[in-house]
Every structure is written in structure tokens, then in C-alpha cells.
């Protein structure tokens, strides 16, 4: 019996002349919480759709729960990026329909739906029509629809897209709880800090290729920190110009929101030496070597910054 829930071997997918996914090999361990990250159009959603057997690869093989997603449909929960509801259906009715399709027996289904509505803090929505709900509320109902059948594998494509911070936190907690109860979770996002907070494993996809497939500690170990943040004692923005002249600093920029200068340390310089020189250059309130973020990794690997907004797009 395999310890991997999802196994992709040399998976390739083309849409006409566009190669959406290029020879991806991937293993998602059982019980892991894996984040697919990458910019819009990177191939995240296409990869997920192939895992779900909604579309099939032109080359390579996909194995899900020891078979393929069609045979294992009832054991998988899927929240697609392009998601919607039957607008005129009542919430309970919609969830009952989805649960029935997923093979949940009708006995006890009402209780299960009510429990989930409580968990997402929407008990009052039970009798409402889907079209009466706000976008965020609809998204929570869609999330319930993807997990109502208690799946072993949960695949969430951009689950945080469109959610306010409160609901993002709630969804974050629910995903963690599912993972802690033994479910394997795959979710895609192009918002780095969400992946960083949640995932124990990161798969970075760019232009259809897998660029990174590692745990967060492995990533941090591989990409040693090279950014020093200096907070001048007087808060003077001109400090960035002075600090940029320190040997080994490639460039410096002022971060008004933090009232601090951010120094990019060159590959051949020692960040510790730069920190010592910074304290010698001007009076400082704090000096710190910033932890490597996924943003930093992405910039280093892909050469461009990730969008910070919540905008969605085809992955």
C-alpha cells in the first residue's frame, strides 16, 4: 500500500499550441498539507483538474488514492476554482444533493449538514436559497459541499479567493482541523503567506513546470536568508541611502510602513558582517536578518514578485 495519496509521473498537458503543464513528477504524502503555489496561469488548476480526472493528461500518468479520481470520486473532496451554486436551490437541499452524489447515506445527513453549517458559522443559512447568500457565505457553502462526505483527500483550488480576513482565518482553521484529523489536503494559491502559514509541503509551479517540491524547513534551509532589515533610531528615511553604501549591500529601499530600511545582501557577502556594519553606521532601534519567505524564494527562482492581491486567475 502506497504512502502517497497522489502520484504524478511525467504529466504533460497541452491546450492547442499552449503547453499548460510540462512533465510534472509529484508525490503528495498521505496526511500532508500541500500547497500548490505559482502565479496566475502557471498550471496549478490544470494540474489539479488532471488529479481530479476532470481532464486527462496528454502524456504521463496520474494516480489518486491508489487508482484514479473517477474510481475514488467518493473519497475525494474538491473545491474548484470556477465554483458556483444552484442559485434557486435552498442551502440544505444543495448540500444534500452534493452529499447524495458523493454516496453519503441519507440517514443522519440532516444532522451532518447542520453540524457543518454550525462549524462555518452559518446556521441561519440552512433554509435560505443560495442566491440570497453573500459571496463569502456562498464560498463557505461550497467548501462544505466539498467536504460533507468526509473525504480522505481534499483538493481546494484557490479556497481563500474572495474571502474577507475573518472568513479566511475561519477557513484556515477548518483546513488545519481536517488535516489534523488525518485528511490529505492539497490547495492552490497565489498568495504566498497563506501557503507559508498552512502548508507543511510546498509545490511551486511556474510556466507549467514544477520549480520546487519541498517542505517549508527544507526550503528555508536551501534558500538562506539574505535580507537585513534595519530600523533607524530616528526613523529618518534617508538612512536607506547611507546603508546602501555598506560593502556587500546590493541595494537598499525604505519601507515606510515599517519605518525601516531593507538591505539586499549580495551572494558573496556575509549577512552578519553587513548587520555589524549597519549598527556602526547609524544609531538603530533594531537590526534583524529576515526569515526567508516564499516571496523571496519565488523572486529568486522566477525573477518576479508574486501578486500580493487576492486576485484570482487560471492557475
Amino acid at each position: 500500500m502506497t504512502s502517497n495519496t497522489v502520484v504524478l509521473r511525467n504529466v504533460t498537458k497541452r491546450f492547442g499550441s499552449v503547453q499548460a503543464v510540462r512533465g510534472i513528477d509529484l508525490e503528495v504524502p498521505k496526511g500532508s498539507l500541500t500547497g500548490f503555489i505559482g502565479p496566475n496561469g502557471a498550471g496549478k488548476s490544470t494540474t489539479i483538474r488532471m488529479i481530479m480526472s476532470i481532464i486527462h493528461p496528454d502524456e504521463g500518468s496520474v494516480e489518486v488514492l491508489g487508482a484514479d479520481a473517477i474510481a475514488a470520486k467518493d473519497r475525494i473532496g474538491y473545491l474548484p476554482e470556477e465554483r458556483g451554486l444552484y442559485r434557486r436551490m435552498r442551502v440544505t437541499e444543495f448540500l444534500r444533493y452534493m452529499a447524495t452524489l458523493k454516496g453519503v447515506p441519507s440517514a443522519g445527513l440532516g444532522r451532518r449538514i447542520a453540524d457543518w453549517l454550525d462549524r462555518v458559522q452559518l446556521p441561519e443559512a440552512a433554509k435560505k436559497r443560495c442566491q440570497e447568500l453573500s459571496k463569502g457565505q456562498q464560498q463557505k457553502i461550497q467548501f462544505i459541499a466539498s467536504v460533507i462526505h468526509d473525504p480522505e483527500l481534499v483538493i481546494l483550488d484557490e479556497p481563500f479567493s474572495g474571502l474577507d480576513p475573518v472568513n479566511s482565518r475561519l477557513l484556515n482553521r477548518l483546513i488545519r482541523e481536517l488535516n489534523e484529523s488525518g485528511r490529505t489536503i492539497i490547495f492552490s494559491t497565489h498568495v504566498m503567506h497563506q501557503a507559508e502559514q498552512l502548508c507543511d509541503r510546498i509545490v511551486l509551479i511556474n510556466r507549467g513546470e514544477k520549480v520546487i517540491d519541498a517542505s517549508m524547513p527544507e526550503i528555508r534551509a536551501r534558500f538562506d536568508p539574505r535580507t537585513v532589515q534595519v530600523e533607524p533610531a530616528d526613523g529618518d528615511p534617508r538612512a536607506a541611502e547611507r546603508l546602501a553604501r555598506i560593502a556587500g549591500v546590493e541595494h537598499a529601499r525604505w519601507l515606510p510602513e515599517r519605518r525601516a530600511a531593507e538591505l539586499a545582501v549580495s551572494r558573496d557577502a556575509d549577512p552578519q558582517a553587513v548587520m555589524r556594519e549597519a549598527t556602526a553606521t547609524l544609531p538603530v532601534r533594531s537590526v534583524e536578518l529576515r526569515r526567508t519567505t516564499l516571496d523571496d524564494v519565488f523572486v529568486e527562482l522566477v525573477g518576479e514578485a508574486m501578486p500580493s492581491s487576492e486576485e484570482s486567475g487560471n492557475g
Binding site: M52, H56, P80, G84, L85, Y86, G103, A145, S146
Partner: protein
């Protein structure tokens, strides 16, 4: 690019198909639109027709008054009172209904005729014969004031053997009525005077009017069809013309109503983005099968409802024997075939487009073929064994519509081999439609953006 895996590997396929079918059925039949449009509308129409009849009756208040007839000869005015008697009016209404009911087989529908005759206007008109033409002006004034129902001016010319006036124009009479005179009353007065003139002429010619009338009219004819085996069947115009149309329209209504629902709900699922949510639980083939099955139940419900109403109406009119069990069995077979053609087309088109406007351009070519039986209804009904009917009954997807016209139109049954062949041939084409439709559906449901051209649809069929 789409799901090409066979569903037989999915042990829960039937459960999913039935769940989809049940949802589609329930959410169509229990909507206000369906309940009002498909279920209540026929009832409302029946009630409205009955109500209109009652309203017409209620609006025909008894009319009483005087018709002045200026007739220097006095011979025409003498006939007018009898023509305006209540018995004469009722008899005329009954005869008119019988004339207009030539489509009904003779000997049936007496009750309806009697009821209609009861709706004849109730009038009590006195006739005032006036010999002095110089009173015309004063009588006109009385018409104008409403004192008289009307004034008929009959000249002596109308009674001449060659009824022309001095200038050679055909001699006639004038009828002057108030502005507010109801058209139906005016018509009755006009007809009464005209008939009276004819009766006066006949009398002047020394002939008896009722004898002459008997000579001029032929009572209801009895047309019998003599079959090759020597059996005789009564000719029924309703069986020849209206019944086939009724059967075909029943097929149309039942299949296209649910076909339209199928088209619009599929488009709605795509535009609502709920399609991929559903596809995470069912395969495209299971979704297609569930939808087709669900709307088949909707269609069958409509067929039962409208068909039942039709048969009940025929039975009420003592024409129930026009529909044979064989016809009903064939109707069922062709209904399944027609629904399969329509539903597969609608589902595949619905899956490929983003809105109804885009669907029109793809549905139109198929609709033109399906319009064939509507356009050829008369020639096919007239000649159900003619070459046109025979050829048209093998053109998919019009096969079931043409065949139902033929099998219900023919006084003599059409060749059994043709019926059998049409069924085998038709269902073979259903197989082809299902094969191509399923491929289009599997690709289409996940497609967004520009709608495909017919050429691209063919490409989908080849690639899926």
C-alpha cells in the same frame, strides 16, 4: 482533453445518474414556471374557453324592439316576422354550427350543437310593415333616436324576375340601424330581410320555398372507404387531418418543452460555474445520462397530461374509437425516439455555449429538419403512403414526427415493414446522436469563452 474513461469502472454510477435525474425532474416540475406554464395553462385555457362562452351568453341580453320595413308591395315584409322569430333564430344557429362542424363525423357532437344553439341570441322583434315610402324620413329619425331597432327599405325592383333597378344595377335593399346597434343583431336583421326577399321571389315565381330548399340541399354524406380486403370503414375528416396533427403536436410539445428546459439548465449550470462542482462528483457521461433521464420524466409527464386530456376530449365527443391501442403503442415508441433526438441535441448544444443567444445559431439547422413534418403536415396526412411521406420518414431526426403523422393519418395501415424499419433506423440514429452528443457534452461542459462553430463541434466529436 476530456473524460474518456469508461463509467463502468465506477461502481456508484447508477446512484449518481439517478440522483441527477431526480434533481432535474424535481427542480423543473416543482417550479412556478412549469406548474403555471405546463400544468395550469391547459386547465386555464379550458376554463377560459368555458368562461368566454358563458360571457358571450351573458352579454347577449334579450333584444326587443321594432324593425320598420318600407315595402310598397307588402310581400317581403310579410315574411320578415317569421324570420325573426326565436325558433327561426335558434334553428339558424344550429344549422350554422352543423355547417361549421363538417370535420366532425356525422352523428356525433349533437350535444355540443344543442348547447351552442342555446347560446343563440334571444330577441323579440316586432315588424312594422310600411307601405308608404314617403315616411322614410320620419322613420329614419326614429332609428336615430333609438325608438326603432332598424329600418329596412325594400324597393319593388328586388322582386322583378330580373332584379335590377332602372339604371341597370342589381336591385337590393337598404338597412338603416342606430350607431349602437350590436353587429350580431344587425346581421340577423339583414339576413331576415334578405331571406324574406328570396321567399317573396320564390312565392312570386309560384314555387314552394321549403320544397325548393329541399331540392337545393344535400344532407350529410356518408363516405365509406373500401379496403382491399373488402372491409368498409367510415371516412372521418378529423381522423384524416386533425388527429395526425394532434399526435404530432403532442410529440412536439412534450419533447421540445423538456428539451428547452434541458438546454437552459445546462447553459445555466455553465454560466453559474456550478458545472465543475458537479463534475467533481459525477462524470460528464453520468451528468448527461442523469439530465436526459430526468427530463424524460418531465416529458413523459407532459405527454400523459396533454395526451390524456386529448383522449378524454375525444371520448367526451364520442370519438374515442378514433385512437386505437396500436396507435398509442406506436406513439410511445416514437415519443422515446423523438425525446432522445431532441434531448441529446439540446444537452450537447447547451454544454457547448455560454448563453441562449449562442445556442440559437447551433440549434437552428437541426430545428429546420425538425420543422419538416410541420411544413409537410398536409401532404403527408393526405398521402401517408406517398413518396414524399415515405422518404421524409427516414430523415433523422424528423423520423418519429413524420412517422406519427403517417401511422395516425392512414385509413389503411402503412406497411408494417416501413414501421419496423423506421423504428430500427430511427434508434440506430439515436445511437449516432448519443455517441456524438456525449463527446460534445464531455468537451463542452468545461469550455468557456467563444462558442464553437459547427466545424469545431465536429472536431470535438473526433478528438474526444
Amino acid at each position: 482533453m476530456a473524460d474518456r474513461r469508461p463509467d463502468r469502472r465506477d461502481p456508484a454510477a447508477m446512484r449518481r445518474v439517478l440522483a441527477v435525474a431526480f434533481r432535474e425532474f424535481r427542480h423543473t416540475v416543482l417550479t412556478k414556471g412549469f406548474i403555471f406554464g405546463a400544468l395550469l395553462m391547459p386547465v386555464i385555457m379550458v376554463v377560459m374557453i368555458a368562461a368566454i362562452g358563458a360571457l358571450v351568453g351573458s352579454q347577449m341580453a334579450p333584444v326587443s324592439g321594432t324593425l320598420a320595413v318600407i315595402d310598397p308591395s307588402g310581400t317581403v315584409a310579410a315574411f320578415v316576422p317569421a324570420e325573426l322569430s326565436p325558433d327561426a333564430i335558434a334553428e339558424e344557429a344550429r344549422e350554422a354550427l352543423e355547417r361549421n362542424s363538417t370535420l366532425l363525423p356525422k352523428g356525433t357532437g349533437e350535444q355540443a350543437v344543442a348547447q351552442a344553439a342555446a347560446l343563440a341570441p334571444r330577441i323579440d322583434v316586432k315588424v312594422d310593415p310600411v307601405a308608404d315610402a314617403s315616411l322614410e324620413e320620419s322613420l329614419r329619425a326614429k332609428v336615430q333616436s333609438g325608438e326603432l331597432l332598424g329600418l329596412a327599405i325594400v324597393t319593388a325592383d328586388v322582386l322583378k324576375p330580373d332584379p335590377h333597378d332602372a339604371e341597370g344595377n342589381p336591385a337590393t335593399f337598404a338597412l338603416i340601424v342606430p350607431t349602437k346597434s350590436p353587429p350580431r343583431l344587425t346581421g340577423l336583421l339583414e339576413k331576415a330581410v334578405a331571406t324574406s326577399i328570396v321567399k317573396a321571389r320564390v312565392k312570386a315565381a309560384g314555387t314552394d320555398y321549403s320544397s325548393l330548399n329541399s331540392l337545393l340541399s344535400v344532407p350529410g354524406t356518408s363516405v365509406r372507404r373500401l379496403a382491399a380486403d373488402g372491409t368498409e370503414a367510415s371516412e372521418s375528416k378529423v381522423a384524416k387531418t386533425l388527429l395526425p396533427m394532434g399526435f404530432m403536436m403532442l410529440l412536439w410539445i412534450a419533447t421540445f418543452t423538456s428539451g428547452n428546459y434541458l438546454l437552459t439548465t445546462t447553459i445555466e449550470e455553465k454560466s453559474n460555474k456550478v458545472m465543475e462542482v458537479v463534475l467533481s462528483a459525477v462524470s460528464p457521461m453520468q451528468l448527461l445520462c442523469g439530465k436526459i433521464l430526468g427530463y424524460a420524466a418531465v416529458s413523459a409527464l407532459m405527454l400523459l397530461m396533454y395526451g390524456g386530456l386529448g383522449i378524454a376530449a375525444l371520448a367526451a365527443a364520442a370519438m374515442g374509437d378514433l385512437v386505437s391501442p396500436g396507435m398509442l403503442a406506436l406513439m410511445l415508441v416514437y415519443f422515446v425516439m423523438a425525446y432522445a433526438f431532441v434531448s441529446i441535441m439540446m444537452a450537447s448544444v447547451g454544454s457547448a455555449v455560454n448563453d441562449l443567444r449562442e445556442a440559437q445559431s447551433l440549434v437552428t439547422p437541426a430545428m429546420l429538419v425538425l420543422m419538416l413534418p410541420l411544413m409537410l403536415w398536409l401532404p403527408i396526412s393526405e398521402q401517408p403512403n406517398g413518396w414524399l411521406a415515405t422518404i421524409a420518414s427516414f430523415v433523422p431526426p424528423a423520423i418519429p414526427f413524420v412517422m406519427i403523422l403517417r401511422v395516425t393519418a392512414s385509413s389503411e395501415p402503412i406497411a408494417i415493414w416501413q414501421v419496423a424499419l423506421s423504428i430500427v433506423w430511427g434508434f440506430a440514429w439515436v445511437g449516432v446522436f448519443l455517441w456524438a452528443g456525449a463527446k460534445i457534452f464531455r468537451v463542452g461542459v468545461l469550455m468557456q469563452g467563444k462558442p464553437p462553430t459547427p466545424k469545431e463541434l465536429l472536431k470535438w466529436v473526433r478528438m474526444a
